[in-house]
């Protein structure tokens, strides 16, 4: 009997024994995540994390549980079985940012923040944590995997808007916190100029955005949004790596291993309400090809200084200096990693500076003005026989007003002016002037239906070219048919003035003679897009879009077979159309996010009845991201079909030997990282392999793309 009583007391004690679970929820930089939902699945027990990310669920009967932690914009965490017996279990939970686009993601496609699902056009957002997880050494490595975006060498194209023109002109505006990044001469973007470790997100707006962003946005916009310096934080990143041997013994040109390395330091400081950020970057590479080294150094500065609750100033500065080898084309396919004899030893040095001041003044809760004043300086020299050099300066001012007219009507209007000068032997001494004014409004007709319309007027005068002006209107519609199904429609026109480089380049690059075309005209486009997004279930969505762009006077480089020289010319008519399919799946039970994209592109030069150069018909990208607490694994793959057309003239004239050698592109990258958060150390160690199969391909004729390379990356934030 005595034993039975003891047993009964033990059982009752067991049942009455109370346990608890406590811990902290953080993001992948170990910052606390307040407001995260913490529940024990299948029970009524649950809580939310406090301002410091801490949580505690008390008075739990002894039993087995499963913990689920979720927060908006982050992937959910689900634990395995937790058996509690009169104890307090401590758990630190790390949630990773979702790569998946949710309704909560906002973009600034129309120069003010909107939910991505409300836009009338296709857009893509890549979160900063995703960029850090990929451990890239240059931003174009990220852009190559964004659906609908292709990068040929370093020239970006959205939905086939551009082929390859060696940096002379762009159809995609790249902006940093709303400041378009220009140069006065070429319009070329250098992708490692940006502090990509300090990016909060990248927004890609697909299709002509001339109605609000002006001339260079005829193909789309890439908006880089930097983090706000709202707290004191130090970030250090070091990486080092090496290239594999070439896949063919015949291509081995160096006896030693080719290395690359980089060092980044970002310091954020706050003083009262003001925040400051300074980022120093250095990256160097021996190059996997002969005469393909680089040494790059940059300083980025940003500060946010509020004057009052209604006014504030943001200051920006970016100084970049670089020296690199100037690898134009291979010697031949048997010497694919060695430049032509006439190009051997050539170098390019450049220095770029950008300074910006943004002043924001709020006049009421529904009206505020922003003035952005910026200055761009670009200087470069090469050491070719022609000793090309260019010095350009460009100043720009953009005044915009953001007005919430009524609860259902939102308008934005602005006025821009740019003025530039260039001194160069390759372009001549030139001046440029442009001005634009725009108005755009969005009207919420019903909670499900949004209508938008806008128009922009541009006037440009580029040195001796005829002054040109254009109106670019745009209409859009976004209709939410059901909670999971949204359709969008947009139509409009766009316009692009030629860059100085396209109109006036006159040089001889070791036999490749480029002649000016002073009769070059602006190009225009009429575009139409129809798309829809369907959310099958939470975390599972499909997006489809059809696009049609009809260009007039499309500017492309072309060889003149009669004299063997190259110049930029206006194609009479070009049509770029196609479709894009995106599938996104988040499987919380497997801690997996998968994104697959297929794009079909039909780019026709109607005048010559042939495909346009350097546009693959099919592209497919696939990204797999596995995150489990402190461990992450990212796999990216991309496929391009073989491009139909290349610079045939350069091959026919014998300037690029074996230049017609090209193939499909199959590239896979893998990155794995471990955050030492479990040891309470804010240090992440990552290992990355790019082009894991050492696949040989060209994006541009006579230029083998990077060989397989391995790198180790160590980053710390405190």
């Amino acid at each position: 009997m005595k034993y039975i009583l003891i047993l009964c007391f033990a059982v009752i004690g067991h049942l009455r024994a109370q346990s608890s679970i406590e811990g902290r929820v953080t993001d992948d930089k170990l910052n606390p995540l307040p407001g995260a939902n913490i529940i024990l699945t299948g029970t009524d027990y649950g809580t939310a994390s406090d301002q410091n990310g801490h949580f505690k669920i008390s008075a739990l009967p002894s039993s087995d549980y499963r913990l689920r932690v979720s927060a908006i914009g982050y992937t959910s965490y689900e634990s395995g079985k937790i058996i509690l017996f009169n104890e307090t279990r401590r758990m630190n939970i790390l949630l990773s940012e979702e790569v998946i686009l949710t309704d909560q993601v906002v973009v600034t496609a129309s120069k003010y923040e909107q939910q991505i699902q409300s836009l009338p056009v296709s857009a893509q957002v890549l979160q900063g944590s995703s960029i850090r997880n990929k451990v890239v050494t240059s931003l174009d490595q990220v852009l190559r995997y964004i659906p609908g975006v292709t990068v040929t060498l370093d020239q970006v194209s959205i939905r086939g808007s551009s082929g390859y023109s060696r940096g002379a002109g762009t159809r995609v505006i790249t902006a940093l916190d709303g400041f378009p990044l220009y140069t006065g001469d070429t319009g070329e973007i250098i992708w490692d100029i940006f502090p990509f470790n300090a990016l909060q997100r990248i927004e890609v707006i697909k299709g002509a955005a001339s109605s609000i962003y002006g001339s260079n946005a005829i193909g789309g916009v890439i908006n880089l949004i930097t983090e706000d310096p709202k707290k004191d934080e130090t970030y250090i990143r070091m990486y080092g790596g090496a290239y594999s041997d070439p896949p063919h013994e015949l291509w081995r040109w160096s006896t030693g291993t080719r290395y690359f390395n980089g060092l980044h330091l970002t310091q954020k400081l706050t003083a009262g309400d003001a925040g400051y950020m300074l980022s120093l970057n250095r990256s160097e590479s021996d190059g996997y090809r002969s005469d393909d080294f680089y040494k790059r150094y940059s300083v980025f500065f940003k500060s946010d200084i509020p004057f009052s609750s209604s006014a504030g100033l943001s200051l920006y500065g970016n100084i970049y200096t670089m020296t690199r080898g100037d690898f134009l084309y291979w010697k031949d396919s048997r010497n694919a990693l060695v430049p032509r004899d006439e190009d051997a030893g050539q170098r390019v040095s450049s220095n770029r500076q950008f300074y910006g001041v943004a002043f924001k003044q709020s006049f009421s809760s529904s009206l505020f003005l922003t003035n952005r004043l910026s200055y761009y300086r670009n200087k470069w020299d090469d050491q070719s026989d022609a000793e090309n050099f260019s010095r350009s300066g460009l100043i720009r001012n953009d005044l915009s007003a953001d007005f919430q007219v009524t609860q259902s009507l939102h308008a934005i209007a602005g006025f821009e002016v740019t003025s530039g000068t260039t001194e160069a032997n390759i372009f001549g001494d030139r001046t440029s002037f442009g001005t634009g004014t725009y108005l755009q409004a969005e009207y919420i007709l019903t909670p499900e239906l949004r209508l938008s319309g806008g128009i922009r007027y541009d006037y440009t005068k580029i040195d001796s070219l005829d002054a040109e002006n254009a109106f670019s209107p745009k209409l859009g519609l976004n209709y939410k048919i059901s909670p999971g199904l949204t359709v969008r429609l947009s139509a409009g026109t766009g316009f692009r003035a030629p860059s100085l480089a396209e109109a006036f380049t006159k040089t001889n690059l070791s036999g490749v003679v480029i002649k000016p075309n002073p009769s070059l005209k602006s190009e225009t486009v009429s575009n139409l897009e129809f798309g829809g997004n369907y959310l099958f279930a939470q975390g599972h969505s499909a997006d489809v879009s059809f696009f049609y762009n009809d260009y007039k006077n499309f500017i492309e480089p072309a060889g003149d077979i009669t004299d063997g020289q190259i110049s930029f010319t206006n194609l009479t008519d070009a049509v770029i159309s196609g479709y894009e399919l995106n599938f996104v799946n988040t499987i919380n039970s497997l801690s997996l996010q998968i994104s697959n994209n297929l794009m079909y592109l039909n780019a026709e030069d109607k005048g010559r009845d042939r495909a346009m150069k350097y546009r693959p018909k099919f592209t497919f990208t696939s990204s797999w991201i596995y995150t489990w607490q402190y461990f992450s694994l990212t796999y990216d793959m991309r496929y391009w079909s073989r491009v139909d057309e290349i610079d045939d003239e350069l091959v026919l004239l014998g300037l690029v030997k074996d230049g017609n050698k090209r193939t499909e592109v199959f590239v896979s990258d893998i990155t794995t990282g471990y955050l030492l958060g479990g040891f309470n150390l804010p240090v992440k160690i990552s290992f990355s392999v790019r082009n894991i199969f050492n696949y040989s391909y060209v994006e541009m004729i006579g230029n083998i793309a990077p060989l397989r390379n391995f790198s180790i990356n160590i980053e710390s934030f405190f």
Binding site: P247, S333, R334, T562, D563, N596, S668
Partner: protein, 170 residues
């Protein structure tokens, strides 16, 4: 789960395709002997011109007798009338496959036009507008020398319709 399996299969297939290696070096080919360069035209084109060719002779044209088929080593395909420049390669711009240049010295390389309706090997039917001459060479014509197993580039010829070179004997 079916969808994930499909994704894995699709990605796996594309990954496997990436193992194939991509671009391969061109197999080694013996160098085709010959020469090449650019022909540049200045001056006013005669409106009666019916054809323009690059012609090469083995021996100097000292007399009209040297203008014979056995001395003729090469005739290019037709140069576009009115062109300002023309880039050529004797291996790919020949009028007939019988013209294969081998190693040796070629005394006379010239650009000549004809105004006759048909192609003829008749000295009187041709007028020379440019000859190959190395800058600084005191001779009126410079020979083109093709070393064994080599292709010679930079054989550029300048033609001035308003100021033609001395004509071979008629």
């Amino acid at each position: 789960m079916k969808k994930i399996t499909l994704y894995i299969l699709l990605t796996g297939v594309l990954m496997a395709a990436g193992c194939s290696g991509g671009i391969e070096p061109e197999p080694e080919k013996p160098i085709q002997m010959g020469f090449g360069g650019t022909v540049t035209f200045t001056g006013t084109w005669n409106p009666d011109i019916t054809r323009v060719h690059l012609v090469v002779f083995r021996s100097p044209l000292n007399s009209v007798a040297d203008f014979n088929p056995f001395n003729l080593a090469f005739v290019s395909d037709s140069i576009p009338i009115g062109a300002s420049t023309w880039t050529y390669n004797t291996n790919s711009n020949k009028i007939s496959d019988i013209f294969n240049l081998i190693a040796g010295s070629y005394a006379y390389a010239a650009v000549a036009f004809s105004t006759t309706p048909d192609l003829a090997l008749d000295r009187g039917a041709w007028f020379v507008v440019g000859v190959y001459r190395v800058a600084g060479d005191t001779a009126a014509v410079s020979p083109v020398v093709i070393p064994e197993g080599q292709f010679v580039s930079g054989v550029n010829i300048f033609c001035d319709f308003d100021n033609p070179p001395p004509q071979p004997p008629e």
